[in-house]
């Protein structure tokens, strides 16, 4: 589903991703952990073109969607096609980024209506089901500012799911939440994983990672240091850096 080949990303002189090779198969849940500034967010953002890589290839669902050879763009597909493929990736942000001028329901139906141009009745039906799924059907006419952080994040998940993505990207979805609200969001994510969604999750919730992830990736200074199963990484990390990071946060 996702394949990164020798991906590099720099901001000016700052190299943020260095030689990233990663493959995620259908239905897999992969958690990414690592210290602040290690490039976790940038990695996710390179997948849906919020950032463009500076070297290497990214392939989503068999479609080559970014390619740079020696810093030169050698991508052959049209921007329209890229946008379509990127729409197969749902993204959930740390700070929710709900649209404050739209109600909960309007937030959810906006992209299916304007991007996919699906008929309104169908979109509304889907949105109602999604709101039920995240347990917020009674909030559909509220504005986001009237909701708690946990509720907002659940709306954000529903909004992303409304585009029927094949892959969901989560960038620290619970880091901005009060501790008592973390559980309700993780519960929705666990349900998604059980439903077979392919997920790439940047998180510091080690309990979640241990329980749900098929693989855990440890990143440091723009590199993937370790890529193994939860059992292995928690009980017997291969790398010294992984060990010291885990000791600090567990």
């Amino acid at each position: 589903m996702i394949k990164l080949e020798n991906v590099y990303k720099s901001f000016g002189k700052l190299e943020v991703l260095k030689n990233i090779n990663l493959e995620v198969t259908k239905g897999e849940v992969v958690c990414i952990i690592g210290p602040s500034g290690s490039g976790k967010s940038t990695l996710l953002r390179c997948l849906n073109h919020l950032e463009r890589i500076t070297e290497g290839r990214t392939i989503i669902d068999g479609e080559l969607i970014d390619e740079k050879v020696k810093g030169k763009d050698s991508l052959k597909i049209s921007p329209k096609k890229v946008a379509l493929v990127c729409a197969e990736l749902g993204m959930v942000f740390q700070r929710f980024n709900l649209f404050p001028h739209l109600t909960v329901l309007e937030n959810i139906i906006e992209a299916p209506l304007t991007v996919k141009k699906i008929a309104r009745e169908i979109v509304m039906e889907e949105a109602t089901l999604l709101l039920k799924k995240v347990g917020l059907e009674d909030k559909k006419d509220e504005y986001p500012s009237r909701l708690s952080g946990g509720q907002q994040q659940r709306v954000a998940i529903a909004r992303a799911l409304a585009m029927n993505p094949k892959i969901m990207l989560f960038d620290e979805p619970t880091s901005a939440l009060d501790p008592e609200l973390v559980g309700e969001v993780l519960e929705v994510m666990k349900q998604l994983a059980r439903d077979g969604m392919t997920m790439l999750v940047v998180t510091h919730e080690m309990g979640f990672a241990r329980e749900v992830a098929n693989r855990i990736i440890f990143m440091d200074q723009g590199q993937i240091i370790e890529d193994s199963s939860p059992e292995e990484i928690f009980s017997n990390p291969r790398q010294e850096r992984t060990k010291s990071f885990l000791q600090k946060i567990l």
């Binding site: 073109h49 379509l84 729409a87 980024n97 404050p100 304007t114 504005y143 992303a160 585009m163």
Partner: protein
Amino acid sequence: MGLQKIITAMPALLQGAGLTILLTLVSIFFGLILGLLLALGRLSKNAFFDRLSQFYIWLFRGTPLLLQIFFIYYALPTFTPITFDALPTAFIALSLNSGAYLAEIIRAAIQSIDKGQMEAAKALGMRYTQAMRRIVIPQSYRRLIPPTGNEFIALLKDSSLVSVIAMTELMRTTSLLSNSSGNAVYYIPCALLYLAMTTIFTFVFSKLEKKYSISE
């Protein structure tokens, strides 16, 4: 004494005030469209559009409105085949001028919207124009209303400048009345009418602002 004179002159004065309002409304309308295009130019990654907008704003904010009116009315026909009558000149000059000021207002309002909004829109598959039109620009409305209200009031007063090309808006109507009668009393109702207009529109804009602030 003068009261009778004022009452007889009232229809003419009100007609002048009507033209003043019309000039202001139309010019703000076209100014907003022009200002939005200029603001998008300033925000565009395309250096050409950015420069072009910058140049326009520099030109129209850096010269007096009075000069712009004279330029369109008198100078343009001398070196181009373009001639405008007084009324189109008034609309064009006021619109072009307010466009430059509104451009900076709109740009600031758009830039004040959280970057995460554009990113969320893009992550949902929206193209730049779609995201701007549906997500970013609507959120800038509320922040746009107070400075646009100020610009509207300023324009309402500045529209008196088109009296120099014989547009009989409120100001010119008043001075014509005084000159022909030799009595300056007409400046009193003129002032009151300007005050009434600015007060009403200030009220309208504050209502608009309230209406758009429900979701925040």
